[in-house]
Amino acid sequence: MTESNYDEIMQLLCDRLSGLTNTDAQITPETNMISQLSIDSIKLLNLIMEIEDTFDVSIPINALTDIHTVRELADLVHKIKSAS
């Protein structure tokens, strides 16, 4: 998995999160998905399923426990994709 793949993951996350929220706020890697974007748990879980399909990986939802920011989620996806 290359750096460009990481950028692809980050871009996808920012795009999808933007679509899921009604805010005009800029979504950056440091954006907190829960406190700043008010993404509810079901929307986040559905987003994870979409990411799984896009990158053909399995992302256990229990791995999300320590994930707060977009960067942390991108790191997790990148790590799982690299190991697959």
């Binding site: 879980l45 399923m49 229990n62």
Partner: protein
């Protein structure tokens, strides 16, 4: 934000959904008159917000059995079965559940919630995988979290999606537990069990089916979806609750796998809790007899379900895909759902209000639970009232 401020924030969010102090959640019920009527405030209301599917809450056989058990064994067991021992009733009910499902063994839990928590956390652990339906009940999610296993969701009742996720697991399917429900509590739809079994066998996984809402409702003797589909022998573990068709409180797991017995020694939700009271066990045993012989009750229940589902559908309400005892009107916004819920209460009908994120797909639900004790006239009144209120929303 400190711990208490976080709770204040959650309370504020809840209040913003329920203006004017509307107490839609945990509504005070002052008196219960029967399986279908109670008093809320100064209103005598029709109960369509309970899970009393066979209408057995006042069955004389169950009440008598509970009274006798209290007289003989007292009000409570005062501790866990591991420490305080298993009463005759606990063991008898486990045997009766195993026999009812033609299984070799059964375990009784103190609540239905704990039945899922205890079974799932006993069957899987860190390094294993659970593959669960996206609309699974909270007890399934919580059981999975407690287990420490990796949790993968598939789209609700979508078998193409489920297979895709099974395939991705590769060799890990060997230690994967698939979990589905006989009837899903939000929309009242049923799992495509034949297709799930096919995939379970193809990938050589273990399957757990929660029959909480389908016990007493589906199948000739009320076993649930396993009986309706003729797939009893294909399901590895069946869990369920006493708090719906059996009208008490508790839960169970049955299986033909002898390893089920090991759960008694490793499952914390079984070990570290007080065992069900003698009265609870006794009324459940009596109710299980009525349930298994209750084909007339099921016939009446399904007649009531079809009557209400058809009328709501004809009126124009968007409903869950399958007619059944759980009939949910699906609404676009929480405000619409709240308005309908309040108006129904003003017409002396109590139903459940379900708001996001508890409801699927960001929708809101006004959910009716039909039971066998509802009269045709009561069901007609509920249907007519829904029709009258349709244009309001």
């Amino acid at each position: 934000m400190n711990l208490l401020e976080k709770l204040d924030a959650a309370a504020a969010a809840r209040k913003s959904l329920l203006p004017n102090g509307v107490g839609a959640f945990g509504i005070p019920i002052e008196e219960v008159y029967s399986a279908t009527e109670a008093r809320i405030g100064d209103r005598r209301v029709l109960l369509l917000g309970t899970n009393n599917y066979l209408g057995l809450t006042f069955a004389p056989e169950c009440i008598r059995a509970a009274h006798e058990a209290i007289d003989k064994e007292g009000t409570g067991t005062t501790g866990s079965r591991m420490a305080n021992g298993s009463y005759f009733g606990h063991r008898a009910l486990e045997r009766e559940f195993a026999d009812f499902y033609q299984c070799s063994s059964g375990i009784v839990f103190t609540t239905g919630y704990q039945a899922n928590l205890g079974t799932i956390s006993g069957l899987v652990g860190p390094g294993d995988t659970v593959l669960i339906d996206g609309d699974s009940h909270a007890s399934i999610y919580d059981g999975c979290v407690l287990s420490g296993a990796d949790i993968i969701r598939f789209k609700h009742n979508d078998m193409v999606d489920m297979e895709k996720r099974l395939r991705r697991l590769g060799d890990r399917v060997e230690t994967t537990l698939i979990i589905a429900e006989g009837i899903y509590s939000m929309l009242g739809d049923q799992a495509p069990l034949a297709e799930i079994v096919k995939l379970k066998n193809a990938y050589n996984c273990i399957l757990l089916l929660d029959e909480a809402h389908s016990l007493g409702v589906l199948g000739e003797t009320g076993q649930g979806l396993v009986e309706k589909t003729g797939l009893l022998k294909e399901v590895d573990f069946i869990t369920g609750t006493f708090s719906k068709s059996l009208c008490s409180i508790g839960g169970f797991c049955v299986s033909n796998h002898p390893q089920l017995e090991q759960l008694r020694y490793i499952s914390h939700p079984y070990i570290f809790t007080a065992s069900p009271s003698p009265a609870t066990i006794a009324s459940t045993r009596a109710a299980l007899v009525l349930l298994s012989k209750g084909s007339d009750l099921r016939k009446q229940l399904w007649s009531n379900c079809t009557q209400l589902y058809s009328q709501l559908e004809e009126t124009g309400y968007l409903l869950g895909p399958d007619p059944g005892p759980v009939i949910a009107a699906i609404l676009d916004t929480p405000q619409q759902a709240l308005q309908l819920w309040q108006s129904l209460l003003e017409h002396n009908i109590y139903v459940n209000l379900i708001l996001p994120p508890a409801a699927p797909e960001g929708k809101s639900l006004v959910r009716c639970s039909v039971n066998a004790a509802h009269t045709t006239e009561q069901i007609k009144y509920v249907g007519d009232t829904f029709s009258k209120l349709y244009n309001m929303i």
